[in-house]
Amino acid sequence: MERHDAIVIGAGLNGLVAAAYLARAGLSVLVLDRASAQGGIAAEHEVAPGYRLPRFTLGSGGLPPRIAADLDLPRHGLRFIRAEGGVTCFPDGGYHASYRDGIVHRREIARFSRRDADAFTRYRRDMLRAAGGLAPLLAGPAHTPARGIFGGLRARLSLADRIAAIAPGDLRDILRLWTLPASDFLDAYFESDAVKAHLAAAAMMGGTLGPRTPASASRLVFPWLSESGDATGGAPETLMPFGGPAALVQALTSVILASGGRLRMEAEVTDIRIKDRKVQGVVLANGEEIGAGAVLSGLDVKRSFLSLFQWKDLPEGLVERVGRVRMKGVAAKVNMALDAAPVFPGLPEGCPSLGGGLRLAGPIPAMERAWADWRERMPPRDPLIEILMPSFLDPSLAPRGGHVLSALVQYVPEVLHEGPWPVERRDALGDLVMTRLAEVSPGIGKHVVALEVLLPNDVENEIGLTGGDFAYGETTLDQMFANRPFPGMGGAETPLRNFYLCSPSAHPGPLVMGGAGANAASTLLGRLGKAVRA
């Protein structure tokens, strides 16, 4: 029987990061995926011949420099583009853009309110402070109080130290951030509805909270996590891998292969062999068995436990706890191929911020109504839409003159109140997106070569992501840090020996790209007594 030190299930981004770390540490690693190409939800897809984009995600976001350096990714061809923070277009024809340059960004805000232009200084300070407090918690494995008496104690003490060192005023700021609705939080800084809507729209994307839902303020800090704080800067930047997520996947694959790891596509794992609560290996769909010292699952937490194991093999209560993890689809993906560059007459010509994406959003009350529709499982009437045209920055993604357009439609329920999505509702959603797009780019409909609409349910069916939840589990405080994916299992280690979770269902979730994979690898290597080879 074939046997490896470690098997990684799922060649998604985090699976590949974990495999790369393990392979570089000298382990024999095998990555298995049922799809024919690597990438998981970030896999590249041809929406029409020659038009390439990531099928399920927008594909923005950068790896933390630590992971890129550990894995030597620049040497394997990975480059990142630093784009501006993006533009929000409002229904009244106005827009608000983000700029990295502090003076330019302040002038932008001053178009709406001079007072708010000045208030941005304090907002930026508070966001950077919050991000600075959050960054160490997200950088490594979660501090799980339950595990290892001494390690746990030390972690708990260091956490207690850190909390004790927080000044009372700062503690109040932390509390505000983690409890308040985004709208109330922003009201404490800004007066302009456009400024607030621009910040809220960027923050609400990908989350299950509305701008007026308690605790949604915490999402405001996420775009600032990778910013470094000099005193005069502007809005946070957007990082994008040059060549799209496909380039990132390719670089990671190249690292794995160069370090002696192996990848097998079209190899679906259907079962995990377990004996005395110790994982022994995997069984493929074709009946083939492969032995492994450790198995790392890049699937979401529900799929990892509920579909790979016989439930009778799982420890008591685990099935229930995994079942209670909240994973809810919140966005539909619309992919488009265009035979010409879309024009946006409402935006200034050559607006550099467009490279960081375009959001179509109403003011905060409209966003909240869109969220309420989602909660009531209504088909969206006025959703929040985020658009990225990666071919603007990287023309190789489309045939000459053509463009690819990715849109995430936020607040799309998995199942409607009336039942599963009927075909006409799906078509209506596609039409709604086209109508909203045509409002900011008249005539764009004439240039559409291909269009596909992927509902949360399609994402689940095609890629196996439960609920089509791109966050791999809600990112609310009760499902973050040591509580991710559920209290008692914080981090990559699972109640089953030799079985690790390397998907964003584990800490740090979707907040740090590749973070879950890196954590799983370092946890396993720590168990094996090996150091991470940088």
Partner: protein
């Protein structure tokens, strides 16, 4: 006039008088909110750009509050000699200017700033500091009382959000008048003479920090005896459209007495010698300092900060009263390091331990030494101090340690 209605053989531009600056000043250059998108223009100029750019022999420009201003117009040494020996004219329009007016203006300002303003008379100015609730400095500036219920606050950075938030409950209006008000700084021992020559009568009668309206070449100008040079000097507040004419007029009348146009580098050097810290450079506003240790109290920044004891309530008052008797943890001091040439200074050492950081540095021709603002731990400030400097020779760089001493009082030239 469209081309087909224009009479033949007549140049359509003929009506524009090329000799008049007004015709060539682009009003959009200093508009409050430019119509174009913010990214489109990276060079923003002040109303005086037309005259300063004409004076520039070096083409060296720098950014001040988002505006492009001359760094050095001719030669820093010459400009310095003019400032200390005759008179120097500079464009200080990038400073932020707020108009504060209304029935409660005085009450409001009493709440905003730390010092007591009860004795502030019309047509005088005072240096003010304003703090947030924990007694950390937000900014400092010059406050003018222009009328009974009319004030002007001049600061280095914008504070509109804080000022409006503090204004809750007061019948007060706050307006940012930075765009419409140009500021010419005329400093130096012969500055009064230059003003006299320019037609300002009885300028010697103007006491320090006093101000009055004057008529210069039929332009209304508010003249104040203020400035951050530590020397005799005046600031001239004029309408943005008048400013280039006023500049020309002053240069014409003052040049025979040694008046020179000067740039931003000289302002930095002069304020360093005179001991005026600059917001954003020597200290960070408490609302901008990401690390809470990056913010400072007034006791750390000024030797004798004016914190009122009689005033009932003002922003940061309670915190400042409890801070006042405690020696500050660190102090902003002016250090002098003997070296015959300008060097680049970075950190302050006491023995081998770093006890501070240099925030601004320059070479003072008056002292013949390097001079620097540095935030230094209070305990170390009384002991022996040294500065690390980088000396460049050819392509090589050498770290040296220079002995430094604290300048006890601002330089009196």
């Amino acid at each position: 006039m469209t081309p087909d209605t224009a009479p033949p053989n007549e140049h359509p531009d003929i009506e524009i008088d090329l000799g008049s600056e007004q015709a060539t000043v682009d009003p959009a250059l200093f508009e409050e909110v430019p119509a174009e998108p913010p990214f489109a223009r990276t060079v923003h100029t002040t109303p005086l750009h037309i005259v300063t750019s004409a004076e520039s022999r070096t083409n060296r420009w720098t950014d001040w509050n988002g505006y492009t201003v001359p760094e050095v117009l001719t030669d820093l040494g010459d400009e310095y000699r003019a400032l200390r020996g005759a008179a120097a004219l500079a464009d200080h329009s990038p400073l932020v200017k707020y108009r504060i007016f209304g029935r409660d203006a005085l009450d409001y300002l009493q709440r905003l700033v730390t010092r007591d303003l009860a004795a502030l008379e019309v047509d005088t100015a005072v240096h003010v500091v304003f703090c947030e609730g924990r007694g950390l400095v937000l900014g400092d500036g010059l406050l003018f009382r222009l009328g009974e219920e009319e004030y002007r606050l001049v600061t280095e950075e914008t504070h509109l959000a804080w000022m409006m938030d503090s204004g809750e409950g007061f019948r007060v209006g706050i307006a940012d008048v930075s765009a419409t008000l140009a500021l010419l700084s005329l400093q130096g021992p012969l500055s009064a003479l230059c003003l006299h020559e320019a037609g300002v009568a009885n300028i010697d009668g103007l006491a320090p920090f006093a101000a009055r309206w004057a008529d210069i070449a039929r332009m209304p100008v508010y003249v104040s005896r203020t400035g951050a040079s530590g020397d005799l000097g005046y600031e001239l507040w004029a309408d943005a459209e008048d400013a280039p004419h006023l500049w020309r007029h002053l240069m014409e009348k003052g040049a025979p007495h040694g008046l020179r146009a000067t740039g931003f580098a000289l302002r930095e050097l002069a304020r360093l010698e005179a001991g005026f810290p600059r917001a954003g450079k020597d200290y960070l506003s408490a609302l901008a300092a990401v690390a809470s240790a990056g913010a400072s109290t007034p006791f750390e920044l000024w030797r004798n900060p004016l914190v009122a004891s009689g005033k009932a309530v003002f922003n940061g008052g309670r915190a400042l009263r409890s801070l006042a008797p405690v020696p500050p943890r660190r102090r902003l001091v002016v250090l002098v390091a003997d070296a015959l040439e300008p060097v680049s200074l970075s950190s302050v050492l006491s023995g081998t331990r770093q006890v501070g950081t240099v925030t601004t540095s320059g070479f003072s021709p008056a002292l013949g030494a390097n001079i620097a603002f540095a935030m230094v731990e209070d305990e170390a400030a009384d002991g022996e101090l040294a500065l690390t400097a980088t000396l460049r020779e050819g392509l090589g760089a050498r770290e040296v340690v220079l002995r430094a001493r604290i300048l006890p009082a601002p330089l009196k030239p």
